[in-house]
Symmetry: C2
Subunit: 238 residues, 2 copies
């Protein structure tokens, strides 16, 4: 990654965290870690003045975010020539119950990333993206798969966006009440929330010679998906 | 709710599920259940041609979605006069590993809801929304809290959007490979993903007389947040 020059994203009105500015971060390390702990992003774009917010699988390579879709999808066709987008990732980490309604809150980590979405052009680049999409989440998996057919390559499109600007926002504290409210006999608490991997379910039509590949060892039952995905992202980077 | 007349949202180009249309649903029951199982939505809106995608706490009352924010927040100030928005909720339910890259997928439930966001005006309406925001997630809790101060009421704003149109999209199947690929000795599987409630952490400054209210009994360790929130939504409706 070429981010040794500037370890933070430029801040303008577009990405400045105005409210609760203490929760805002612009350094690439923080932004990338929040992105890399996720598999799904929400992408905002505008068609004829109407905003759309589409959830989609995505991944990061250096300063680029990739997502994919059918070549026939409206979002992909619209984004192909290069349109402004905002890509948002959110992790809900806890529910915080305070002594007043006002101080009820949630703990979260979120990133809003801004840039221009463009179609990935050229068959070689597209094939690289197809493998990247698999290998980034499931280390080494693309080499084990049945290769894509000409029809599949044609039917799949990828969009790439360079991160021009981004901001992260994090709340990771406990109940934060008005000082005088702590004296009230009102029950206050925090409930952690975690996205976890459940028990693996083999394909009912599994081939008798098929065995779980090494690269899937990270996907252990009960582990948070955050941890699994971060670990896989580090393997993909190396 | 007045949805006995028309149990489905009107379908136009805006909300039609084009790709994988078999996964698309427009009936209110399906749409509402996906919304009610969530606490956080992503809201797309446009300022000066730039799309933004902001994650925020939200809830549903009949055909209206509510979210809140600081009266000083850029999103709230911008949405106050009435602007087009798209509110999206996504639940990631499973990761599906197929025998080809093309058929890798995820199971999910998502809703994209369209409408015009407007500020909730009037102190009575605002107070009702403040209580609603607490009671919808934590049954009966608003009555137990220190009431909001004049300053807090002033500092908080709510936005409401009537659902003009919506579509749900669901994938809930297992591995779906090309028929001939099942004969290949490539390992294929599905990993469920669940968002679960962790062990409750009392406020470190808990008052000795404070006890967990009845309304919090749904928040049991290990339960999916989906289930907890759906149950709370049904109590709020009644």
């Amino acid at each position: 990654m070429n981010d040794t020059v500037d370890p933070a994203y430029p801040v303008t009105k577009r990405n400045k965290v105005v409210r609760r500015y203490q929760r805002g971060f612009y350094d690439k390390k923080t932004v990338h870690e929040i992105l890399d702990a996720a598999m799904v992003a929400h992408i905002a774009y505008v068609m004829d003045g109407q905003p759309f917010c589409t959830p989609t699988g995505f991944w990061r390579e250096g300063e680029h975010l990739y997502w994919h879709g059918s070549s026939a999808s409206r979002m992909i066709r619209f984004q192909s020539p290069g349109v402004p987008v905002c890509v948002t990732v959110t992790h809900l980490d806890a529910i915080v119950l305070a002594r007043s309604g006002f101080h009820h809150s949630v703990n979260y980590r979120s990133v809003m990333a801004y840039g221009t979405a463009r179609l990935v052009e050229g068959e070689a680049e597209k094939l690289r993206a197809m493998d990247g999409f698999v290998d980034r989440f499931f280390p080494g998996r693309s080499a084990l798969l049945r290769p894509p057919s000409a029809q599949e390559i044609k039917a799949t499109s990828f969009v790439v966006m360079e991160i021009e600007q981004a901001s992260a926002k994090i709340r990771d504290t406990h109940v934060g009440d008005e000082e005088e409210d702590y004296a009230l006999p009102i029950w206050a608490a925090r409930y952690p929330v975690r996205q976890v991997v459940g028990e693996m379910e083999e394909c009912p039509r599994q081939h008798p010679d098929a065995t779980m590949p090494e690269g899937m060892r990270g996907y252990r039952t009960g582990r948070t998906l955050d941890d699994v995905l971060l670990e896989a992202a580090r393997q993909y980077e190396d």
